[in-house]
């Protein structure tokens, strides 16, 4: 149904924004951190967020 699809697309757009904000925050961390252990962990998390953004895009495409 048209309404359902529109709502879902909007939901996934919001979710994409959420994931992007997280990725941007972790990018920001990476700019300032020196500790190798911290950098390594946060890079991994930041890469996860990039993957999440891709997943959310896929969800968007799935319902569009």
């Amino acid at each position: 149904m048209k309404n359902d699809r529109e709502i879902l697309i909007k939901m996934f757009d919001d979710l994409y924004l959420w994931e992007k904000q997280a990725k941007d925050l972790y990018d920001d961390y990476l700019k300032t951190l020196k500790d190798k252990k911290e950098v390594e962990i946060i890079r991994g998390i930041r890469d996860d967020e990039l993957r999440h953004m891709q997943i959310v895009k896929n969800l968007h495409n799935l319902v569009e």
Binding site: D4, D14, E38, G44
Partner: protein
Amino acid sequence: MPVEKNKNELDQISYLLDLVIDNLNDGFLLISLTGKILSVNQALVDMGGYVKTDLVGKNAMKLANIFTFKGLKKIASSFVDAQKGIPGDRYTLEARTKSGEPRVIEVSNSLIKKDGRNLAIVVVVHDVTVDKKNQDRLNKSEKIVKSAEDKYKILFNTSRDAIMILKPPTWEFISGNQAAIKLFGAKNETEFTNLGPWNVSPKNQPDGSLSSDKSKIMIEKAIKEGSNFFEWVHKKINNQEFPATVLLTKVKIGSELFLQATVRDITEQKKAEQALKEKIDELEKLNKLMVGRELKMVELKEKIKKFEANIAMPKVKKLWANKFQEAVDLEDNFVTSLGGHYLSEIDNFNLVILQKAKIKKLLRILILDSARHENLFKELIRYENEKR
């Protein structure tokens, strides 16, 4: 003086007889064989508003001010019969009182004889005007009843609602209009009246009760309260079921009790109600989602503001603050709130099962990752604390 004594006695008897005749309820006339009125009683003069002298001495067949020509002819004819000793039937005449008021009288003549000689004719007059009025009233009532019956027949036959009459004690249909015959799919009224309510109801009603049991309750209620309106599932002769409203009305015809059932097919109404209910459910679902989403959006906006504020903070301040706590909060929010909300709401959308399953699977990956991230950031906080 025995002769005088006898004469006195006879006078007394004659006087008493006059009193008796005067006090009769019916009018009484004594008429000579030539038609001359010899005597009238008080009841007769009261009946017509006359005085005795208006009548006594007049010829009964010439009272044109009292009787119509047709009436006078009838009087003459019956008078001749009476003279011949032919017993006449009672006959009815229209007459007028002295004031001109129309009356209806019933007349009978008898011949008085003595020693084989015809002496006079006694006429007894009975005022039947009141009875005629009653008869007219009765006829009028009958006309009204007939008119009402005719109107009912027209309504019965032309009504778009199915109307049927049920007769106790078995409450079988004894009559059904065209709409009823059509509604239940009968060929004609004969086929329809071979049916009983149980033939046009499924075994059970939607509430699970047996139609046979429930119909008795509905009939009893209609008898007790005068009418009963309720919803019912009926079925046609071809077993096709349909929802209907039924109005049972107690009807008394003469001394017999019947029930009139008015049945209306509400299939279209039910469809419209269902469509409306679905629309309301859909709107409620949408509203719920929108409210939930709006709340999440508010939270998200707060977070964004917070991020922006953090970005704007001087580096030294940011380093002084526990920077990873924000990340912990962010990931925790997703796990406990936003991600869970999305996951639970997916079922409310009109999606094919495979689509739903795939979306849920991917959302679970995001939630599990966020939970893992939250733990990693908590570890980093502890690590930082240890370093200090």
